[in-house]
């Protein structure tokens, strides 16, 4: 096992354990800050999939945007939320949560079996890509290519998503406006 694999497994362990902590923790503040760690670990995993631009985007948008938004909503929604959260969450995984736990574990088992059946390492098209020298190598720089593709091949989805973003900004500002009820 070389250094790359060790770092990959370390990153995967950090991501999964912090995600488990987010799910199991009784305190909302702790789970929000552990979610921060999960997102960082995921950005590291993107780097191991040789998608450095996506990793940077993940850090900028998720940590700069989404996490701050979540913290804002948490702070604006009062502290009685915290008290009630503490009341109902005594114990690691409360008794009333076990149906959802069973659901998640069963789904996990089914999905693992599906992935093992699908055998993604033996898919035909990645092998074809490897034959045609289409696999991204660790020494490549992909960012320029992504920019060119965004402006040519994926121009229509890019425009659609920009219009959607504008609509979302207007809608969110309208919804969170003070004054007369919406």
């Amino acid at each position: 096992m070389n250094l790359t694999q060790m770092l990959f497994y370390l990153m995967a362990f950090i991501t999964l354990s912090s995600a488990l902590f987010v799910a199991a923790s009784g305190s909302l503040v702790r789970s929000i800050f552990m979610f921060f760690i999960t997102l960082f670990g995921l950005a590291g995993l993107y780097v191991f999939a040789l998608a450095d631009f996506v990793a940077i985007t993940q850090i900028v948008i998720y940590m700069g945007g989404i996490l701050v938004l979540i913290l804002f909503a948490f702070m604006l929604s009062g502290r009685e939320t915290l008290d009630r959260l503490k009341q109902q969450n005594n114990g690691f995984i409360g008794f009333k949560n076990w149906p959802s736990l069973v659901l998640a574990v069963l789904f996990f088992v089914v999905m693992i079996l599906v992935v093992r059946k699908a055998m993604p390492d033996n898919l035909p098209w990645p092998k074809e890509a490897a034959l045609l020298d289409q696999v991204i190598k660790p020494t490549d720089t992909t960012t320029g290519n992504i920019g060119v593709n965004l402006m040519t091949r994926y121009l229509l989805p890019f425009e659609a998503i920009s219009i959607l973003l504008m609509m979302v900004l207007v809608g969110a500002a309208h919804l969170s406006r003070k004054g007369e009820s919406v």
């Binding site: 990959f8 995967a12 999964l16 488990l20 987010v22 799910a23 909302l28 999960t38 995921l42 995993l45 993107y46 191991f48 999939a49 040789l50 996506v54 985007t57 993940q58 948008i61 998720y62 945007g65 989404i66 979540i70 804002f72 909503a73 948490f74 604006l76 929604s77 009062g78 939320t81 009630r84 109902q88 959802s100 736990l101 659901l103 998640a104 789904f107 996990f108 999905m111 992935v115 055998m119 993604p120 390492d121 898919l123 098209w125 990645p126 890509a129 289409q134 696999v135 992504i146 593709n149 994926y154 989805p157 998503i161 979302v168 900004l169 809608g171 969110a172 919804l175 969170s176 009820s181």
Partner: protein, 101 residues
């Protein structure tokens, strides 16, 4: 060499943790975090398969689109949560049981 199977196993585990949070939590913000975990699991798969597409960059481009969509979802959801809190003084989905009038 890290194989695709490893990435898919990690993403399955993340998806199931997110599913558990969405189903079991009784706080709208925690449900939202669960949805973000599910979206991140999907993005991890997109990125992992995007490694085998050097010219078209399909996976990575749509991973970026998915990240932007997640940001848009969160912004609208948090605006709705703030409104709900203003009206009901709680953000537990179980206790919101009235329509407007």
């Amino acid at each position: 060499m890290i194989t695709l199977t490893h990435f898919m196993f990690i993403s399955v585990a993340l998806f199931c943790i997110g599913l558990y949070m969405v189903v079991s939590k009784s706080n709208a913000i925690q449900v939202l975090i669960g949805i973000e975990l599910i979206l991140n699991a999907a993005i991890l798969n997109l990125v992992a398969f995007g490694k085998y597409d050097k010219m078209a960059n399909n996976g990575q481009t749509f991973a970026i689109f998915a990240i932007v969509l997640a940001a848009a979802t969160t912004a609208v959801a948090l605006a709705i949560i703030l409104n709900v809190y203003r009206k009901y003084k709680t953000i537990e989905p179980d206790r919101i049981d009235q329509l407007k009038d």
